[in-house]
């Protein structure tokens, strides 16, 4: 899912992160003010945006207002996990649990 950009992407050099405007997507498993940070994984046709990662514990999609970079910290409130974004062997980003 691609959220609207808050500011134009700086392609050259990519020294700044892209920022996104998050809106609620119908996720109802956390208190209202946190809902925009999560969404359901819609199955095989679904795609993660540059500001999204799947929680390996509970399979919910975690969203950030910033483009994700390796080393970023994420919180999965639906399952209470702290995660760290890492670059996997195939070059994609994934979230791993950090106890």
């Amino acid at each position: 899912m691609v959220d609207p950009l808050q500011s134009p992407e700086e392609v050259e050099g990519r020294t700044e992160r892209r920022r996104f405007v998050l809106e609620e997507t119908g996720f109802d498993e956390v208190p209202k003010r946190y809902r925009k940070f999560y969404r359901k994984w819609r199955g095989p046709g679904d795609q993660l945006g540059p500001n999204e990662a799947i929680c390996p514990v509970c399979k919910v999609v975690i969203r950030s207002s910033r483009e994700l970079w390796p080393g970023d910290r994420l919180y999965c409130m639906p399952c209470m996990s702290r995660l760290v974004v890492v670059e996997s062997a195939d070059g994609t980003l994934e979230a791993r649990v950090s106890y």
């Binding site: 956390v30 209202k32 003010r33 514990v57 207002s65 994420l74």
Partner: protein
């Protein structure tokens, strides 16, 4: 944390995050999102398209019977664990889990009554698998022995992960009312499995010697888990290739904690 809009939840300090997600307040506003407007776990307007054939109906009753005994084990386990929980945050979280488990048991028993079972509690006890009853016995033994790590491992990692995987698979092909009930339970289970894995992960990091004891507990419970997985897969009609997927889903959390 109040009601002000949150700019970026991932910027919270970890201590603050833990305090928030373990709180009764967080739980209350979470379940409000998906349970308000439901009666016994489903919306009243949902059409009850439960199996009309006698064989399929009996089959569903047996499946629900096993779920009831699993939820009963979790209810008794979680309530017993409050007394030995190491701090206030975990005690408060477990009080919310007790409420969740009590609700699960109630809605499942009610569903059995909907399906024509006059005495659902007795019927659940009569029909539930031997492996599940044995697991319940072993779990309560760990709780009574005041072994916090082992009991959390058995209940919130092993039992809850198994339930999470089985309920998700069952919900995919269930009748609309049963599906809604299971979907609501799955949302609660996310908190329970996450609590177990993260609590144990932190404790194993701080005290690696605990790992040896937990590996032994896993070894003792493994055959019961595999039996339960086999029974559940058969009962809910999981195809052989999906069965492996189900087992993998259960094993992932155990493996993330370093148990292979």
């Amino acid at each position: 944390m109040g009601t002000a809009p949150v700019r970026e939840v991932h910027d919270l300090e970890h201590e603050r995050f833990l305090e928030e997600v373990h709180s009764f307040e967080f739980w209350f506003h979470s379940v409000e999102g998906y349970l308000s407007g439901t009666t016994y776990g489903h919306r009243e307007e949902t059409v009850d398209d439960s199996p009309s054939g006698a064989v399929d109906r009996q089959h569903l009753i047996t499946v629900l019977s096993n779920y009831c005994i699993g939820e009963m084990a979790a209810l008794e386990g979680a309530s017993g664990l409050i007394a030995i929980a190491p701090n206030q945050l975990t005690k408060i979280f477990l009080s919310t889990q007790v409420a969740d488990e009590g609700r699960h048991l109630e809605v499942l028993l009610h569903r059995m009554r909907d399906l024509g079972v006059k005495y659902p509690a007795q019927e659940a006890d009569r029909r539930a698998s031997r492996g599940l009853k044995q697991f319940r016995h072993e779990l309560l033994r760990l709780v009574q022995g005041r072994d916090w790590e082992a009991a959390i491992f058995a209940q919130n990692v092993i039992l809850e992960s198994l339930e999470f995987a089985v309920f998700r698979a069952h919900a995919e092909g269930a009748d609309p009312v049963t599906k809604e009930i299971l979907d609501g339970i799955i949302k609660d289970e996310r908190r329970h499995i996450g609590f177990g894995e993260n609590e144990l992960g932190r404790r194993l990091h701080a005290a690696p010697h605990v790992r040896t004891r937990l590996a032994r507990v896993r070894e003792e419970l493994d055959h019961l888990i595999l039996d339960m997985l086999e029974d559940s897969s058969r009962e809910i009609g999981v195809e052989p290739d999906r069965k492996a997927e189900l087992a993998r889903a259960y094993l992932q959390s155990v493996e993330r904690l370093g148990f292979t």
